[in-house]
């Protein structure tokens, strides 16, 4: 069995054992629940648009809060040294930690399945966009986890890791809403950079390889950045 799996198991158990994880889940559910159900009854439409519209914004600060401890805690406690002198490679460590964060975010999304269930009781729900939305949420969570992991690999201070991760995620989310500041020739490029743009495409129920490729690229760049940061520490 690869050491990446052992690291994944350890990190995941550390999440489940820590109170911060439950606080993050509670905050996430509170925010999404409030912002979903408040306009829901006003709009009187049986869909999850308002939930998925908001999700990239909420993920921008929730995901970095989940990932901030992954490396920073190891640096500040010093356990990074014990970990690095075990026979494991950089890639195994990064993959293990990354998957633990992804799994935690997936678990965080499970209670929100109550939203579509509630809606389907109240009206006729089109499940296509919902399935697309959840697939997009997983991709988005994965990409942001990679970014957050990278931010965490830069510093021993968890608060700095959180703020750096949040800044990058927010920028990625908001970049396609700032487009009117930019010259026309650059619109396409910056629109492509926007996480929200790609997420909303998928959340419409249209699964396009370009959007999937975008999230995979962001994830890969984040993980590669973490790898570079680890190499720098040698």
């Amino acid at each position: 069995m690869s050491p990446a799996i052992n690291i994944f198991k350890r990190e995941f158990r550390a999440y489940i054992a820590s109170p911060i994880a439950y606080i993050v889940i509670s905050v996430f559910l509170l925010i999404t629940g409030w912002f979903f159900f408040t306009p829901f009854f006003l709009q009187n439409q049986a869909n999850l648009r308002s939930f998925f519209n908001l999700l990239p914004m909420v993920f921008s600060f929730v995901v970095p809060a989940v990932t901030m401890r992954l490396f920073s805690e190891e640096f500040s406690v010093g356990s990074y040294e014990t970990l690095m002198t075990l026979p494991v490679t950089f890639t195994q460590i990064i993959v293990g930690k990354f998957l633990a964060a992804c799994a935690f975010i997936a678990i965080m999304l499970v209670p929100t399945l109550l939203y579509p269930l509630t809606v389907s009781v109240l009206g006729v729900l089109d499940w296509g966009p919902v399935i697309g939305g959840y697939l997009g949420a997983l991709l988005l969570g994965g990409a942001f986890s990679a970014v957050g992991l990278f931010a965490s690999s830069l510093t021993r201070n968890q608060i700095i890791a959180f703020i750096v991760g949040m800044a990058i995620c927010f920028s990625l989310t908001l970049v396609n809403q700032m487009l009117f500041f930019l010259p026309k020739s650059m619109l396409g490029f910056f629109e492509y950079l926007g996480a929200d743009f790609h997420f909303q495409n998928i959340a419409k129920g249209i699964i396009d390889t370009r959007d999937i490729l975008y999230f995979i690229s962001v994830g890969f760049i984040g993980l590669y950045g973490a790898n570079l940061a680890m190499r720098e520490k040698c």
């Binding site: 069995m1 050491p3 052992n6 690291i7 198991k9 350890r10 158990r13 550390a14 054992a17 820590s18 406690v77 010093g78 356990s79 990074y80 040294e81 014990t82 690095m84 002198t85 075990l86 026979p87 494991v88 490679t89 040698c234």
Partner: protein
């Protein structure tokens, strides 16, 4: 077993380890000595593959750090300074995690953990969180962590630092027990510890090796400086000095503040092969001073260490 050649490490522009070379034989217990900031920890971190050398080579058996770092990590058990372990894990879970990463047989795992708990005296704390443990127990968990896969080489960075005297004795006992069949490298700044546990001592200072050998050889090679202590009554310092100064070999005569009233305590530094205690005694016998104490300071490792590593 381990071959280190011209090992160098820079932190930005600061040179922490400056071209050190040494070999370690199988079964040897090597003590790495030096003042704080001499480069001990950096050397050990390079040996264990945690830091990359800026220059030089490290070979462990047939493997070289760099291309085969992973293979070397499999063969080395390492206890970093002050045993930094995951605070939020239970001791048993942590050891199990290490066993899994070290790829121990699933069937042998519980037996090995039990064995280590016995060896390192961990039985009373197996179900406690590591963060709650005292420093001594934390150190023992670190030792168990390092010993998990029964490595041929054990690297211990200041294994007894911050422990109380009882714990120090216990940890040393464990090290000596393990050292019968394993190659051990340990760093320390406690000289008596090195003297008691190590077969060989390497003293480093400013990233360079200043002495290398058994305690015995280091003591022999380190200078011919001797120190004599003398306590007198009914004497005054200036007359003592004028009488003793002509004796060949004496380089310095100092008046040390005496704890007893009306006595004169004198420290004589000399460089000589010959034993000049007789000469000094003859001189004093001719006076009407009373000699209360007269002793030669044993050439201690402490003294050599100070001589080798003191600034200027």
């Amino acid at each position: 077993m381990i071959h280190v050649e011209n090992l160098t490490r820079y932190y930005d522009h600061f040179c922490a380890v400056d071209g050190i070379s040494f070999d370690i034989q199988k079964g040897e217990i090597l003590g790495l000595l030096g003042p704080n900031g001499a480069g001990k920890t950096t050397t050990l971190r390079m040996l264990t593959g945690y830091l990359e050398p800026s220059a030089g080579q490290i070979r462990v058996q047939d493997y070289a750090i760099g291309p085969d770092t992973l293979e070397i990590k499999k063969r080395i058990g390492y206890l970093p300074e002050s045993a930094p372990l995951y605070h939020d894990m239970i001791v048993y879970d942590y050891l199990e995690y290490v066993a899994e990463i070290r790829e121990l047989d699933t069937a042998k795992k519980p037996a090995r953990i039990k064995e280590l708990a016995q060896l390192c005296g961990l039985n009373p704390v197996m179900h406690k969180t590591i963060g709650e443990l005292s420093k001594g127990y934390k150190q023992r968990v670190g030792l168990a962590h390092a010993l998990m896969n029964d490595p041929e080489i054990l690297v211990l960075d200041e294994p007894t630092s911050g422990l109380d005297p009882n714990q120090i004795v216990e940890i040393r006992e464990i090290i000596r027990q393990i050292g019968r069949e394993k190659t051990i490298i340990l760093s320390t700044h406690i000289l008596s510890e090195a003297e008691a546990t190590c077969d060989r001592i390497v003293i480093i200072h400013h990233g360079k090796i200043v002495a290398d050998g058994s305690t015995q050889t280091i003591k022999q090679s380190a200078g011919k400086e001797q120190i004599l202590h003398m306590t007198l009554t009914d004497a005054d310092f200036s007359s003592v000095r004028s009488l003793l100064e002509p004796v060949t070999g004496i380089t310095r005569i100092e008046n040390v503040t005496s704890p007893e009233p009306h006595t004169l305590q004198i420290r004589i530094t000399l460089v000589s092969d010959a034993d000049i205690r007789k000469d000094i005694y003859r001189i004093i016998r001719k006076t009407d001073w009373t000699l209360l104490e007269f002793r030669q300071e044993a050439q201690s490792l402490e003294h050599i260490f100070r001589e080798l590593t003191l600034e200027n």
